[in-house]
Symmetry: D2
Subunit: 341 residues, 4 copies
């Protein structure tokens, strides 16, 4: 940590800054007089609230954090890439893992037919929402436990492991009985009680990026889960809130190589939610694969125009087949792994 | 709702759009042939998922919602302004209500001294966090129930009603035993299980705007609480995520008159969290009052430089006194109420 | 255009709306009474300022534009894709066109060696800045006309056509003498005098997306150039301003298929400026190709660490060679063209 | 400047960083070994391109600028507040200066009647656009020189000095013949040739904040003008591009006290363009005054519903009168000046 003071700070102000640093066990100040600033380096392991304390001292202009606030999620402290294995899928391995299925679980026929179709096309994880976060209280909010049972039925039929969202700390136990991967939605990325709770399970957790989350906040959300003892974390870029309203969100494709550099955790992309329009899903999915994503989350529905949720962004079986062919072709020619120095 | 189709849509495509509309009980299409587009108006009460359904039909270019998706929170359906009364404070009345206190509850002395100081300066609600959402799992996360007890002690001493945050559906009951207003933090604005749960209590609820929430999403979060039967909702503008990092967030001051126009609910502002720097709190607080805010949420701490949380944005007692004097002066000269036609 | 009025608008207010519409030659209103709204459709060709006029009439809640405000740039009015040919490069054809070179022209040796290296690797257009927009007045602002002459020298040596930025209407003539493509920088996307001026030349123009430009504003900037009579326009996605500061800008990869759907103009991407970090350039470049971009703009420098401008985002010759190999492999397996229905 | 290196950087890498720093005349490195990082402070006056150079050296993780890149615009180098005087208006003095008038100059009657009305209400500067930046090439783009003559006529009648926009370096001379303040529009904030050109005049210049400009970029735009020798610069907050589309832009009210702290230049606000809706103009204008703005730019039109440009955000004479009464009342009770420590 670097404490920046004005050139005209008084000796007393500087002394107080030094005294405060030394009042924390294990910390030592090192002063350095520049042309326009006095800079005080802080030697030792910084506690997260120290920045706030120093910023308020008289004469201090700015406090700059030099180390990253996340450790368990950081590549610096864990240079080898991690992977998460569920069923036949290795998320974080050389091949992209495709997780596909409907936005919402609706009925047995829809789930089983979709599961079979996406498996036949090459998907190795089945997605489907039983508990749905909806912007309006009057929208369909999912089938709940009954939906979990239908997911399980589709799993029995196809062997595909299940990824499904959990929205509340109270539901973690029941969802974990059915799910192979627990999904934390974008709107819950900073629902810290929920992160704590899934951190105490032994199920892999996918943390979707919040609509307005910086890379650091996102990795700190992963850190919450890992600090609870659960190291099987997958990150998912699903688009951030921007000023353009033609697409629902703006997929930040550079997040994929950035996360690979900052963290050892696997990173996948969700082109369905980010674009919100089915005809944009394939080009954006291919972009994510080319940029090095470890997988994709794709909404597929037998009849998108009667889907109970997010129909406009769902692919038909036929469109999904075409996406899979192209994704496979690109993943075969991309470097394995895409190197991020 | 308006369904926009291309000029060159086929008669069959148009017929299918009409058939779909009519398949919903109570809905009727009305077609209108423009120069560059065919426009189909939908007569009747629209369900929230109809837009998704129509967007996917062949020939449809765009679907435009004309009515607002929120009803209970809407001024259109409830023209008279609402107010929420706790203790001596009427939030939504002619005078701005100042809710002040420390970011985190730390100890009895801090709470009681702060409560007395803010009361003496004119605050009529005491704020203080017992459950704290923190970006890093390693930051101080609040005293929990012990903190609620200290808040209660300060309430007994001063008579000030309490506003405090609740972060998890599981904690709603216990927090509601102590709090006079339940605060939903910005990061939980779309934590729908939590909104449902506070909607079932009889305590007033303050819904802070999410970091990336549109006005409509924010009002729909209020609608969640109200749909549960709890109509005592207060909105709080606390800054949105923007590209400028000098301030923590960007306070959207226009949100105050916009919300007064779109909704009958009272609206307050939080200049402490939005700016993140104590020397910006007073000017931004005064701006909010001048724009017509029904109140303010202000962080005050006896010694900001040793605060366990958010010290840099806390005011000393002396600075808070000065803010109160200026806020009072401005509220006396502003029109009562600031008219939003 | 759709004029939305409240259900309780008076007959006089509705009559005035109808009268105003009819006062414009060729326009006719069509009224339609919904459950919560009265909607007035406007038949005829809308002038761009009519929306403003209607919004102010008493009883009007909202005015919704149904048609697009751009025509010449629109795919709707020009269904076949356009392409721009310079030298051996066909921008808008099946193969992505790589435009590479240094951010700034610095000296003959740098320009000629870079031109030879990028040509050998497969680039077919040479980029290089002679007039440089710099955030600080104290940064190196380019060599000006001398830089144009060095570009020309490199063109003579290699046969590569030149793309270079023009910043001022006054410089259009001189830059057009040297350049094969005139580049309008992101900061000048709404410099309308400059757009007018390049619209009057017969040189192809590349319009970079403004830092905060919507798709519509960007296509309207292209429309300015085309309205001047110059139809050889190329669009370039170069990243938008977002809240994340780790990358310089946020490349909006979905813009590529969106623009292909809304417009017939070719669209390329600039991964160098958007990421600002050389190790992100290749993955983001490959993403753009996979998403269907017609080309790339890549900064290459013999010695990035002594470049006078934007060194951190420049590739060495070796890194550029590797990018080209991978881009070629992906473009060979992507569908030709990537279909955007 | 601070160069941050990894703990495991080699001695050679550190030596190269030191060598590079020393290769710049007047610069000296000072090394400091932390627990997780090696930090190298750079002593001396930093050139703006040095950051780029250092970022690329092997072993360097990050380069942090400690000093501000602007000097002439900085309060640090110029502690006393500046003011700009035109006619009876002192922008930067204790009283807010109201600059009012129509968006576009349309005809003599409109200009003269508006000038008289705004003068009677207390405005001391007349605004009006002769050269108009419009998003669409098909919108009304202003009367040009004829418009300047009409502005002059209104000035002769009322004695009010004129503020009007200049869009192109070529027009600076002619506009400067008529204008008392040259306005640089938001879309031209980084049109550096234009900034250079107005920097060479002796007319006061108002620099509007770009739609996506950080505080630093905005102050650097002012620095461009001042570096040309023209120190009479006024800054104008006019709203930034955000995700909410209900208002045209998001007025960043905190910018007012931030700029007062970072710079000595006067700062005014434009609530008309930022909100885009006349009924939001007054509350946002009052907010700006309460936050300490040195003035306001307000659009006023005799008949907003037939205005040729931006009618929806224009006030009638009557509404402007009411705004002036309230603004005066608030400016009388606000501290003079609002202190920004």
């Amino acid at each position: 940590m670097i404490v920046v003071m004005g050139k005209d700070s008084s000796p007393e102000q500087l002394a107080e800054v030094e005294r405060r640093i030394e009042s924390h066990p294990g910390l030592k100040p090192q002063v350095f007089h520049g042309v326009e600033r006095i800079v005080v380096g802080v030697l030792g392991t910084i506690t997260p609230d120290l920045k706030d304390e120093m910023e308020l001292l008289p004469g201090v202009l700015e406090v700059v954090l030099i180390s990253k606030p996340y450790k368990l999620a950081s590549r610096e402290f864990h240079p080898d890439s991690s992977s998460v294995t569920v069923g036949d899928a290795v998320i974080g391995g050389p091949d992209p893992v495709i997780m596909a299925g409907p936005c919402s679980v609706e009925d047995e026929d829809q789930m089983v037919s979709t599961a079979k179709a996406v498996k036949a096309a090459g998907a190795t994880v089945l997605r489907g929402g039983a508990f749905k976060p909806r912007t309006s209280p009057y929208s369909f909010r999912g089938m709940g436990i009954e939906g979990l049972e239908l997911l399980d039925m589709a799993k029995q039929e196809t062997g595909l492991p299940i990824i499904t969202e959990v929205m509340s700390p109270r539901d973690v136990d029941i969802v974990a009985q059915y799910a192979d991967i627990l999904q934390i939605g974008a709107r819950n990325m900073q629902n810290y009680n929920l992160l704590d709770e899934v951190g105490e399970t032994n199920k892999p957790v996918m943390v979707k990026r919040g609509l307005a989350a910086s890379y650091e906040e996102w990795l700190l959300a992963a850190e919450y889960v890992m600090a609870g003892g659960n190291e099987n974390v997958i990150l998912c870029e699903r688009g951030i809130r921007g000023f353009e309203q033609f697409t629902r969100f703006t997929l930040d494709v550079a997040a994929i190589p950035v996360i690979k550099r900052l963290s050892h955790l696997p990173i996948v992309a969700d082109p369905s939610h980010s674009t919100g329009r089915w005809y944009l899903v394939t080009p954006v999915a291919l972009a994510a694969i080319a940029a090095g994503a470890h997988g994709l989350l794709i909404e597929v529905h037998p009849n998108p125009d009667v889907a109970k949720c997010d129909g406009p962004q769902s692919l038909t079986f036929e469109n999904f087949n075409r996406l899979m062919d192209q994704a496979r072709a690109i993943s075969e020619v991309r470097e394995q792994p895409v190197e991020v120095p």
